[in-house]
Each structure stands twice: as C-alpha cells, then as structure tokens.
C-alpha cells in the first residue's frame, strides 16, 4: 500500500528493508544451504571433511531401515492427520455454528494456551498418565479392567501427536467454518437439504481451503516431531526425526542426518504444494 510513490531507493527505505534480508541470509538461508552442501561431505576418523561425493546419499537411500522409517513416518503422520481432522471437526462445527461469538472467542483463546506451554512437559505428563501403573490404568483398575499397555505403541505416539496438533486444527477449522456465509446454509436447509447432507455438500466444500490448510499444518507438525514417537511411542520403529537425532547425536554422522533432513523437507514441500494446489483448484471449480 504505497501512500507516497516511493520508487527511488533511499536510506530510509533501506533501513527498514535490509535488516531482515541480512539476518535471514546469514542465519536462515545460510544454514539450510549449508545443510544441503553438507549432505555431500565425507566423514573420516569422526571428522567431517568438505567434499562433493554422493556416498551419503547412496548409503542412506539404499538402506532398508531408512525406507522403513520413511514410510512408517509418512504412515503415522497421515493417520495422525486423519484422526486430528475427524476428532476436531464436530468440536469446530459446534464452536462455529452453535456457540455465541463470545464463547467462540474464549474457546479460541483457551486453545491458543497449549501452543505456548512446554510440549515436553505435556508429553511427560502423558507418559505418567498412560503408563502401566498410571492414572488411567489406576482408574480402570477400580472397575476391574486392565491394565492396558498404552505406552510404546502407535496409540501412545498418536496421543502425543494429538496433544501437539489438535488445538491448532480445532482453531483453524473453527475460524474457517465461522467465516462461511450462514445464509447459504439456511438456503440449503430451506431447499430441503438434510443436516448431514448440508455438512457434506455445503459446509465442507465451502470451507475446503481452510480444511486443507489445517490438514497440511497437522501433517507437517506430526511428521517433524521427535518427542511423541520417542517418549510415548518408545521409538521401536524410529521415525525420520528420531533417525536425524540418533545420526547427529551419537554417530557424529552429520552428512547422513542432512540426507534424511533433505528427504523430509522434499516430502513436506511436495505435500504442501499438492495440498495448496488442490485447495485452490477445487475452489475455482466450485464457482
């Protein structure tokens, strides 16, 4: 929004424009590019030497455990995304259409809180709650059930992922659906559309973009999280973030960790772009 035609570049304009360029080039673009370069380096006698070899790539990509880990991570993050979207939907629906404006604002404020509380402490809390002699099994024991094993299973990992993603997904879905033109829904109802059909044929298509963005965020967060699969899933099947962690921390094999990281980023970009393209295309088709 140029309030004054400031085409010429002057000191004033540069003062505000340059800091972020300098800062992000040195401390964001630099690290990311260096990581890409590093994936071609060699490690000799536990020391990294600069080189341009494809040995890390061929070593990592030819290993069975890398691909096991890769597909497991894609699988568990997809399951988490489907779960979060489905679990969040009724709540977001209620907040968007059945709650008052002020209730909705309070709900969103409350859901922002977990975003700023330590995810580690929350995970540790689940660890204690879900454990063999924990709160849930203690409660179930009083009515003669259990104990059930919940830690070190996919269920544990998913509980962790939900802790991380559910608040955000509910917020995004609520905001999206609250912005739908309510008269369109009334029109559908007046024309004889049944409630469930209204959800499928009116509400979901109208909020498609927001829903897809929520799903993308959910996938990115679950895909990149190492805490839930490590502490609650027991890392029996290591996810890619755990693979990065192990390779970096114990093996000093930074270049191989870089290969894993780049594969992760590639996957995430592909999914994000596909999702955005889908959201955009469908929107146009509907009009």
């Amino acid at each position: 929004m140029p309030t004054k035609p400031a085409r010429t570049i002057n000191l004033y304009a540069l003062t505000w424009r340059l800091p972020i360029i300098f800062w992000q080039f040195i401390f964001f673009v630099g690290p990311v590019l260096f990581m890409v370069a590093m994936s071609f380096f060699l490690v000799k006698n536990y020391r990294m030497t600069e080189a341009f070899e494809f040995v890390n790539w061929s070593k990592m990509l030819s290993r069975g455990y890398f691909w096991d880990s890769y597909w497991y991570t894609v699988f568990i993050a997809s399951v988490a995304t489907v779960c979060a979207m489905c679990i969040a939907f009724p709540a977001a629906f209620a907040l968007a259409f059945r709650a008052s404006e002020s209730t909705r604002r309070w709900a969103i404020f409350l859901l922002i809180i977990p975003f700023f509380t330590s995810y580690l402490v929350r995970t540790f809390s689940w660890f204690v709650i879900l454990s063999e002699s924990g709160v849930i099994n203690g409660l179930l024991g009083t009515i003669g059930l259990g104990p059930y094993t919940m830690l070190n299973t996919n269920f544990g990992t998913l509980v962790g992922y939900m802790t991380l993603t559910l608040p955000l997904v509910v917020i995004l879905q609520t905001v999206t659906m609250a912005n739908i033109d309510k008269t369109l829904i009334e029109a559908a109802r007046n024309l004889g559309c049944k409630p469930l059909a209204t959800i499928w044929q009116v509400i979901i298509p109208l909020s498609k973009t927001g829903l897809i963005i929520a799903a993308i965020f959910c996938f990115i967060l679950s895909f990149g999280d190492f805490v839930a699969p490590f502490y609650l899933g027991g890392s029996q099947e290591p996810t890619l973030p755990i693979l990065i962690l192990d390779t970096t921390k114990s093996g000093q094999q930074w270049p191989r960790a870089a290969v894993v990281a780049i594969m992760m980023m590639g996957t995430l970009f592909a999914i994000a772009f596909a999702g955005i393209a889908l959201a955009y295309r469908k929107r146009k088709g509907a009009k």
């Binding site: 260096f34 330590s118 540790f124 204690v128």
Partner: protein, 266 residues
C-alpha cells in the same frame, strides 16, 4: 426442535471432552508437582512441596533459568525489531521480489524444528559460533521473528493510510514521522510481539538442545531429565515454566485487546 436440543447437548459434551484432552496433561502436571508419589497414580499420594524444594536447591536449574531468561529477553528484542522492520517495509513499500522477501521471514516456522536444529548446528560450527548463549538467541530470533511481524503487520493495517502523509505534509521528515507517529501507533503491537516471541523462545527445546552446548536452558534441562527416568521434578519445573509462559501470553493478549479498543476510537 427437541432433537436439535439433544444435539446441542451432545456437541457441548463433545467440546468439553476435547478441552479436557487438551488441558489434561497441563492440569495433571500441576497436580503431580505437589504429589508425594514418584510414580503418580490413582489414588493420589499426599501433598508435598518436596519437588519444588529440590529444584530450588539445584544450582544447575538456577543457571538454566538464568540462561532461559537471557535467551528469551534477547530473542524478544531482536525478533521484534526484525519483525517491525519487515512489517513496515511490507506495509509502506511495493518492490520487486516482495514475495521472496516475505517468504524469507515467514518460512522458518513451517520447517520442522529438528531440521532447523541440524542446519543451525552445522552452520554455527562451520562459522565458529556454536555452543554459545548467543547461538541460541540468534537461532530463536530467526524462528520467532515472523510472529512479531504478523502482530505488528495487523496493527499497521488498522492505521489510516493518510496519517503518514498528513505528518509529511505538516513538515515532518520520514524519520520524525516514524518516531512520532508510526512507532507510537504500533506500540501495543510491539509489546504484544515482545511478549509473544519471548514466550515461544522460552519453551523451545529442539534447537536450543542442538546448538546450546553446555549453556542449557530450562527446556533442555527438562529434556535431559526426561531422558533419564520418571522424575517428578519435571512437573515442578514444568509448572514454573508454564506460569511464566502464561504470564507472557496473557500480557501479549492484553496489549492485543487494548489495540483493538483503540482502533474503534482513534
């Protein structure tokens, strides 16, 4: 009509369950922090402040708390400055490569932290800046600047576009206009940004853990304790960290709200 009522009740219960799930770990962590059992279960043990006494007597935790304080305060200042500059550039100017320019600040939070952690660790080692407190501060400012930018940019949206021109017409230079018009106008958003970025930085553990070396922050200490075994001290530290984060977020919200009030009555 009756069916609609029932549905509302069911949906209400459902929303309550979702909130229970989201807040259960936070509330239980607080309860456990005052609970005498090492392995908390139902029924709960007796009330104790043992875990708090333990962390208060631990010099490592004091040092980590000090580090966390330094990191989050410095991060807040740098990130908010960067966020303000970018938000203002975006608001005031149209220029070539504006898309990539904005992507530069907005991209970092979309990249998984573990990847940023690895990239930062490798880069800092390469340029000889690893293992220092300032390494964490720099990394955190990259990660949190977009939050400050978003808050300040929203505030600039509420500014009457003629306000700046009016100040120039009255003879104010661009710098004077910045000082006397724009910065005062953005002040609530700037404070909001400071608290928000401090809160995010205060809780971040993955990048801190990778680049911090021996200068541990509180979340890194938590991570290390959790790796060992079940130790209720974590709950005590966690409750303490939670209270600080909450204070910061509530302060940010208060400034955010005051901002909206003022926009109604300029």
């Amino acid at each position: 009509m009756n069916a609609n009522r029932t549905l509302n009740v069911i949906l209400g219960i459902y929303v309550a369950l979702i909130f229970a799930f989201v807040f259960a770990p936070i509330i239980f962590s607080m309860i456990f922090s005052f609970n005498s059992q090492r392995f908390p279960t139902i029924p709960l043990g007796s009330f104790t402040t043992e875990w708090y006494a333990k962390i208060l007597a631990d010099p490592d935790i004091w040092e980590a708390a000090l580090n966390s304080l330094i990191v989050s305060c410095s991060t807040a200042v740098i990130a908010t400055f960067l966020g303000f500059c970018t938000a203002y550039s975006d608001y005031r100017y149209n220029f070539r490569f504006k898309g990539p320019y904005l992507a530069l600040i907005l991209l970092p939070p979309t990249i998984p932290l573990i990847i940023m952690a690895l990239a930062m660790l490798a880069w800092f080692s390469k340029i000889g800046m690893s293992g220092q407190i300032y390494s964490i501060i720099i990394a955190h400012s990259v990660l949190t600047a977009p939050f400050a930018m978003a808050v300040i940019r929203l505030r600039l949206n509420q500014m009457d576009p003629d306000l700046e021109s009016a100040a120039w017409n009255l003879g104010g230079s661009e710098w004077a206009t910045m000082r006397h018009v724009i910065i005062p106008f953005c002040k609530p958003a700037i404070f909001s940004g400071l608290f928000l970025t401090a809160a995010v930085s205060f809780d971040e553990f993955a990048v801190s853990w990778f680049v911090s070396g021996l200068n541990k922050t509180l979340p890194v200490i938590i991570l290390e304790i959790v790796q060992g075994n079940i130790d209720p001290q974590v709950n005590a530290i966690g409750t303490f960290v939670f209270l600080i984060s909450m204070t910061l977020v509530v302060l940010a919200q208060i400034f955010f709200a005051s901002r909206q009030m003022k926009s109604i009555r300029p």
